[in-house]
Symmetry: C2
Subunit: 243 residues, 2 copies
């Protein structure tokens, strides 16, 4: 078994995902939002690349069943029901609903994983659960960080490290998966910061930007390790808890 972590979509050729289990991560905040929404009873999340695509997808759904959600420049999109803060995705708001979601980096990363044989959605909130599910697939694993406009994102990489650590725990010493350089570094960085993941996020460029927008309250919600042990699977345009 091998585990490769990729820092962003830059230079990631789709063929490298074929035959592998892909895990898409956008800690701040798309994949944390998706995990929260599904844990709170949303029926499905449909990732869209653009607000226009989100509106088109929603137009094909029964009225009252869906919510339009996402962000641009970290803010609510005009006319949408929800922005991209996990705090908005309460059971009261999302249970039984289909969420059509478009974000700047995260939904793009999930869609880019389509060539993989299975696609999971990871975050700190469900790192252990996703690690177990990925190990169960018994295929090489590719962890794809959404990053922020192509720049290395320490939150995403540390969450990748949490998943690497979780997968490795299932193997006997000496029979551990082979790691690429970033998977090794990610595991190291997660181990180093695991006791203070909220601070880690606050110190990142993206986390600092959210704090300056008054969205700092999202950071502890996105840092709560293994607090939502669900496994979201992406297939044919839909993310659900059904493998």
């Amino acid at each position: 078994m091998r585990i490769d972590v990729y820092p962003s979509l830059l230079g990631l050729e789709p063929t490298r995902l074929e035959g592998r289990t892909a895990i898409a991560i956008d800690v701040l905040r798309a994949t944390s939002v998706i995990v929260t929404a599904l844990a709170n009873g949303a029926e499905a999340v449909l990732p869209a690349l653009t607000p226009e695509e989100a509106r088109e997808v929603a137009a094909g759904l029964p009225p009252g069943r869906f919510l339009l959600a996402g962000e641009r420049e970290s803010r609510l999109i005009p006319g949408f029901d929800l922005a991209n803060s996990p705090r908005e995705y309460t059971a009261g708001r999302v249970a039984g609903r289909v969420i059509v979601l478009t974000t700047t980096n995260g939904t793009r990363a999930i869609r880019a994983c389509e060539p993989a044989s299975a696609v999971l959605v990871g975050s700190f909130l469900n790192a252990g659960a996703v690690a177990r599910a990925a190990a169960g697939e018994q295929k090489p694993v590719a962890i794809v960080c959404a990053a922020t406009r192509g720049e290395f994102d320490l939150g995403d990489v540390a969450a990748a490290g949490a998943i690497v650590a979780g997968i490795r725990r299932g193997f006997a010493p000496g029979a551990e998966p082979e790691l690429n350089d970033l998977a090794r570094a990610a595991h190291d960085l997660f181990d180093l910061h695991r006791k203070r993941l909220g601070e880690l996020l606050a110190g990142t460029r993206h986390g600092g930007g959210l704090e300056r927008l008054g969205l700092g309250g999202d950071l502890p919600r996105c840092a709560a390790l293994d607090s939502r042990p669900v496994v979201p699977w992406y297939r044919q345009g839909r993310i659900t808890l059904v493998p």
Copy 2:
């Protein structure tokens, strides 16, 4: 002051280097070779993008004054004098000579730094010296990892971390440079592995590949922290110890 570390040339727009001090790093092995050659008395190193370009550059130099050097697939280029192992660049071989060097990733990274206001060549061997020189330039710093064919390289990033650590040491607590996410991670990774940099390199994908080619003896030579405290400057096609 700010310090940004970039994992590779992928997505690095030349305009981001303007007005900055750039430091190019290719620990395995181009920048370790350049530092070794200049510390051992080479007059200059001329980085070329291709073997053809190297031969053209050499054709304009006085016979007997230059050596043709570099690698493709980690091996000697047919007809060249030296490959890319620091062990070859002894004083007896290189003192007083001009080295025309072409490597797969490293010389490309140095040339890509041309838009910067100053370009330094960094490695573990001269991390502290380069950090002091960069701090003295009093401009924002961009540390550019050569990487291996665009993939995150833990050796390059840890050496970047050694330089970040060195620059930060010169600042009072609270007045420290602002770091991008990868500069923070690099500093963490260097601190974590600083006592066993040779092992760190042996565990990287690139280091393992060199060991399989019988070139494992290069790894301790490339891991010897601050063993060659020289500062190579790249300007107008030439790398020398003259600022």
